[in-house]
């Protein structure tokens, strides 16, 4: 994209050795993407061709692995739908809570807003495993074990600090004049949030939602401890392959690819938002 803009003023001697650096960049990129390519390729091989040494790169392609994954044993659809429910609902809840909070931390900041901000971040540093046992006992005693809503609440708490930090950084970019104009017109808080601020920070909200979705979709530890057969999520479903042997390599790769597909799709679609999101909005 930016190749066209900064063409002049670049001295010619910069090009020396450039071809090697370009080549190196390509080699490194290919090395990093290779395991992913290998996963997809293996998923498209028959089980017999998948587990060979040396690798049968040019073996005929088949959808056997996928067919086996979807119809062979326990259906992956309930876990996939559970993951989708938990990720989407917790993301919605996070945005609902984080947006007003970020407003109170940037546009009309409360007293000691930095303390509040760092309180949010500090919860992210506390090891989640330390809160696992009480939550498990709570769930056991209230009959919420193996209930998707418990995961939704937990994922909301898991992502809320990230979302508050990100949204605060996006909100502090809203021009002061726009807010002054809104308050002079006597707009209420809800109205200001919805029709003045929201449109400006929409890209930021999208980035936040993307990150929250990915983290919820990926989560394993809590889902493994707090769910069983009913509310099982896709990563938990994948753990049934942990001890699998070479007999199921194609199916395993198909499973890994199918479960990763939403994250890959969302991530590639919003590549530019990714950095901003991952750095809590501090890197633009």
């Amino acid at each position: 994209m930016s190749t066209l803009t900064a063409a002049p003023a670049v001295p010619k001697k910069k090009e020396r050795g450039g071809i090697w650096l370009t080549l190196l960049a390509w080699v490194v990129g290919i090395l990093f993407v290779l395991p992913v390519v290998w996963m997809v390729l293996t998923s498209l091989h028959s089980e017999a061709d998948a587990a060979t040494n040396p690798p049968a790169v040019l073996a005929p392609l088949t959808l056997e692995g996928y067919r086996e994954f979807f119809t062979g044993g326990a259906s992956p659809w309930p876990p996939l739908l559970n993951s989708l429910t938990a990720s989407l609902l917790s993301t919605a809840l996070v945005l609902l809570l984080a947006f007003p909070a970020a407003y109170a931390l940037s546009i009309k900041p409360v007293r000691k807003w930095t303390d509040v901000l760092f309180f949010f971040l500090s919860t992210k540093m506390l090891p989640v495993v330390a809160g696992l046992l009480p939550l498990y006992l709570f769930a056991q005693n209230t009959g919420l074990l193996d209930n998707i809503w418990l995961l939704i609440v937990f994922y909301t708490a898991m992502n809320l600090p990230i979302a508050v930090w990100m949204m605060r950084s996006f909100l502090s970019e809203v021009p002061v004049e726009m807010l002054e104009a809104a308050s002079m017109d006597g707009a209420s808080l809800t109205r200001t949030l919805r029709s003045v601020i929201a449109p400006v920070v929409m890209p930021g909200i999208a980035a936040t939602a993307l990150i929250c979705f990915i983290f919820s979709w990926n989560e394993l530890l809590f889902a493994r401890v707090l769910t069983a057969t009913v509310a099982e999520t896709a990563p938990v479903f994948l753990t049934s392959f942990v001890t699998s042997q070479g007999l199921f390599l194609a199916q395993l790769c198909a499973a890994a690819f199918v479960v990763s597909l939403p994250v890959l799709a969302a991530g590639f679609a919003a590549q530019d938002k990714l950095v901003q999101g991952l750095s809590l909005g501090s890197v633009k």
Partner: protein, 320 residues
């Protein structure tokens, strides 16, 4: 709930420069109102469980012996401190975190520098680089364990067989990667996933560099190495710190890779995995809680330093 709300009022109301009349107090509440739902939610869901953990850590409570629940004093803590497994887990956690963060940060820096140049297909290489980060962690760990590391049909040994056969040898080395170097196996798989993350942050940092100054230095005859050391690196410092901090937050807590690749065996059990085991398999709630409390205290000590770093990072961004 009420006590929580009151507590936060007390805190924020401590320093009030203006005489607090009824009007300004009401105005303060109007300002605070949008914040409260998120704050209360976080306190209830993340802080209350820790209080419970603290209480349970002083109890004698094993789910296998439900009749023997009672007060245990500091017994659980004594057991955790004298437990060799726990001490190993602390060490493993440190090695794993430092190893992954350091290696992925260095690799990320190198690759970010490569991608900072303009060249044909830069966008494509960047996209390829991001892919590892977008594979679900359990799926990535499974992929490394079965499709890459496996000694019989994994890609690594398959590639060794292939390369050796190019030179006419039918006796290639076929190491059992995970058994020979279990911790490094976990580290490499995680480095593969986290290098893109570091690269993205550092690349954003590089592209925010004031180019005219660099150009001026070049015209003044500064070498590329001099420019890198005295201009690029200082500029990147805060991005390196940010990457290290965020990476550490996530990798200290890693469970997926340890659970999947080695199941905590062969000396790779880190703290999250060990506590998970004490709680989920041994059902020793008291000891698991004591271990958790110790981890939390340790984390608070480290996080205090880390937070100082972050607050310096965001210093230039004052609120209104």
């Amino acid at each position: 709930m009420t006590s929580v709300a009151e507590k936060s009022t007390g805190r924020t109301g401590e320093v009030q420069p203006k005489p607090s009349g009824g009007a300004s107090r009401a105005a303060g509440w109007v300002r605070r109102a949008p914040l409260l739902p998120a704050l209360i939610f976080m306190i209830v869901v993340t802080q209350l469980p820790f209080v419970a953990t603290l209480v349970i850590s002083f109890m004698d409570w094993n789910a296998y012996y439900p009749d023997e629940v009672g007060f245990a004093g500091v017994d659980n803590f004594r057991r955790v401190f004298t437990d060799v497994n726990m001490r190993d887990a602390v060490w493993t956690t440190i090695l794993l975190t430092v190893g992954v963060v350091l290696i992925s940060l260095l690799l990320g820096l190198g690759i970010a520098l490569l991608l900072d140049r303009k060249f044909r297909g830069r966008g494509a290489v960047r996209t390829m680089m991001i892919a590892p980060f977008l594979v679900v962690p359990v799926a990535a760990a499974l992929l490394w364990k079965h499709a890459l590391y496996n000694p019989e049909y994994g890609l690594f040994n398959g590639a060794l067989t292939w390369v050796w056969s190019l030179f006419g040898s039918d006796n290639p080395p076929q190491p059992d990667w995970i058994s020979n170097m279990p911790l490094w196996s976990v580290i490499f798989a995680l480095v593969w996933q986290w290098t893109p993350f570091m690269m993205l942050i550092l690349l954003a940092g590089l592209q925010g560099r004031p180019l005219d100054v660099v150009e001026a230095a070049r015209i003044d005859g500064a070498s590329s190495w001099q420019i890198f050391r005295s201009m690029t690196l200082p500029h990147l410092r805060q991005y390196l710190e940010l990457g290290a901090l965020l990476g550490s937050i996530y990798i200290v807590q890693n469970f997926d890779a340890v659970f999947t690749i080695t199941s905590g065996g062969l000396g790779t059990a880190n703290l999250p995995y060990t506590i998970y085991q004490i709680f989920y398999q041994a059902h020793d709630y008291g000891r698991a809680s004591a271990a958790a409390v110790i981890v939390v205290v340790g984390t608070i000590v480290i996080a205090t330093f880390a937070l100082r770093t972050v607050s310096s990072l965001f210093k230039e961004d004052p609120g209104r």
